[in-house]
Structure formats: C-alpha cells, structure tokens
Symmetry: C2
Subunit: 210 residues, 2 copies
C-alpha cells in the first residue's frame, strides 16, 4: 500500500473535531455530575440527555450502568480502583468530546484530584462541573438501593459518605441542591447552564420550546 498519495484528500488526516462541531452546529462539551449516592445524578443525567437530544444535540451519557459492567468491570471500590474507574471514564469522555458529543458523566467521583484530571483532558471552556448537592441525611433516607443501610451494617466497606470521604467541589460551574429542587427543576437548571454554553442554536430551540 502506497503511503504517499498526495492527490487523495482523505489521506490528509482524520476527521477533526471542528468538522464534527460544524456539522452538529454546537460545540462539544463534557458535563460532569458529581455527588453522593442517591443525590440524584443519574436522574438529572437522563433528563438532561432527553432534553438535549430533543434539541438535536449530539449527546452521550456515561454512568455506572454502562461502564461498571463493561469497560470498568475489572474494578472494585477501593480508593485505587475508584481512581482508575474515573480515569478511564474521563478518557472516554475526552474521546466523546473529540467526536463532537456533549458527554454527560454521572459518577459519585468522590475525589477532587480525579475530577480535576477529567477537567484537564479537555479545553478549559469545555468542561462543566455540576455539584449535585444533597445532605447526607436526605440521601440516607432515600436510599433507593439499600446501599446506605448495608454500609452502616458493615456489609459494604468504603462507602462514600459513610466510611469513605466525599470531597466537595471547591469551584464547580453549577451547584444543584436536590434536597430543595425537584427533578424537573434540577434538570432545568443544568439544561440552562449547558444551553448557554452551547450557544445560539440550543438556546433558540429552548426558547421555541417554551
């Protein structure tokens, strides 16, 4: 196979992010939702995904459900494994960003340094950290999967908020308090922040949908 065929334009290189963004008519982004278990991250992520998809945005969503059984199926919940889990997710999010997606990531991601790594993999204006804030006592009361109960019973070790630290974001782009906002309003708050970053297209469609 010839490695030099100057007249064949597709050999000049890969399809660029700029080409993809031009086709999509919006910039790529990483929207990173962090917070305690049962704080509402997945609900917000799914709602946001639906809203953006309806706007014609090229949206993707990553959460425990689609990585913990696959890409990160070899990892547990030790400090080291949590960090490796978030490192891989951050790399996939950066890849999705290169592919022009608005990549929504919903992970407890308890350690500040792991979230900073995720941020560092895309340009500064392409990362939106959303702190899905909720008092531990409220999360423990919701406890939809009985995980807090099991953690307190000693059946699960290293559970965030019980016997492992959650390091609150120091300077997130947005804080959504789900102890006071219901799901619809929480999605709306994140949606507005994302739409503003996506610019004219998504904003106009959002207004038209009002």
């Amino acid at each position: 196979m010839s490695r030099v065929s100057p007249n064949v334009h597709w050999e000049l290189g890969a399809v660029t992010r700029a080409q993809r963004e031009e086709r999509n008519q919006h910039p790529a982004l990483v929207v990173w939702l962090t917070g305690l278990s049962a704080s509402g991250k997945s609900t917000i992520a799914t709602g946001l995904e639906q809203r953006l998809f309806a706007d014609g945005v090229n949206v993707a969503r990553l959460d425990g459900d689609n990585v913990r059984h696959g890409l990160c199926g070899d990892l547990g919940f030790s400090h080291e494994d949590r960090t490796e889990n978030i490192r891989r997710v951050a790399e996939v999010a950066a890849l999705l960003h290169e592919l022009g997606h608005v990549a929504i990531c919903a992970f407890i991601s308890p350690y500040r340094s792991d979230r900073e790594l995720a941020r560092s993999l895309v340009p500064p204006d392409r990362f939106i950290e959303v702190y899905v804030k909720c008092a531990l006592s409220v999360c423990e009361e919701r406890d939809p999967k009985g995980l807090y109960r099991r953690a307190h019973a000693g059946e699960i070790r290293g559970f965030t908020g019980v016997d492992d630290a959650y390091e609150e974001p120091l300077d997130p782009e947005l804080v959504v308090d789900t102890a006071t906002l219901d799901a619809t309003r929480a999605v709306q708050a994140v949606y507005e922040t994302v739409a503003a970053r996506l610019g004219a297209k998504a904003s106009a469609q959002a207004r038209a949908a009002d």
Copy 2:
C-alpha cells in the same frame, strides 16, 4: 428530589440506540480492522472515516493513537496487556455502537479470542471484521517507524510477526490484501462492504458520488 414523576417523559429512560439510529438514518456498526503492523490498517481507517463522514454517516475512529496514550496508557505490550487493551477498546466500540456510531477500530489485535470478544459485544449483524492482509516480508520492508528493525535487533520484545504470534482471522467479513491493492482501492473495498450494511442511504449517496 422526587424519584417518581410519571408525567415527565424524560424520566422514562435514556435515549435509545433506536432513537439515535432513526435520527442518523443508518444503523450503528463496528468495523474492526486487524492485521500486522504496517499492513495499512490506520491508512484504511482514516480514509474510510473521511468517506463515511462525507456521506453524512455518524462515524468514529479508534486506533492506537487515541487510546494508547489515554485510556490504555497504563498498559504495555505483554500478552496480558494486549488482551486488556483490546478488551477496553472493544467495550468502547460497543459504547460507540450504542451511541449510534459506525465505529472503525484499527488495531493489530493479534489474538483471535480478543477479536471474538469484540464481536460478542454487539449484535451479530453489527460487526464487520476486516482482515488487512499483507505478507510479513512486505510489512518488514515498509517498516515506516523502524519497529520491525528494532524488534529484529532485540530492542523490542513480543513484537507481532517477529516474536509474538498473529492469529489470522478464520472467517472475516472481508479480506483486503494491501500487498496488491493500493490505498484508494483498499478503502473502496471496505467502504463498499460497510455501505452495503448501512443500507439505502449510504449506497445512494455513494452512487451519486461516482
């Protein structure tokens, strides 16, 4: 946050692959290029990406360049690490398939069982294995990065074709022999196979472009 809001349709679930495929007007696929180092996989992958993008296909490309420094940056080239490398790539390809992409993967992927794993992660009609065939002697002659020379000099261990096995595909969807086909024809051969699988849309555009 309320976990039950039956009137809010976006809480019914995530955006599905079917919804994405309907918007894209083509099915998602994984196109897996396997072959020796310097067989021409990356050239074909890049050319195919450009062709499909020009057709309006939602295409993605994975190769060593975008995973070896990031997602798989912790892995070397031992048998075990190669298998883990391909496992992660296969999982990301399956994720891209779920997102509606035609995911082009270009990796030596020397072991049959690793490629079979990749195939198993998507429905049977969604995987196209392309054997980018090229005589070892031809690859060694091309040796664009001097890797064969270094492997023969003992500076690189476990190099596919020199001191590690390449297990040829037994029943690939397509074989492209790059010792006899030039780059343009090799891309065309893969493109035609992919376009046929994508159905009417891509085929019609391919004819219009002739």
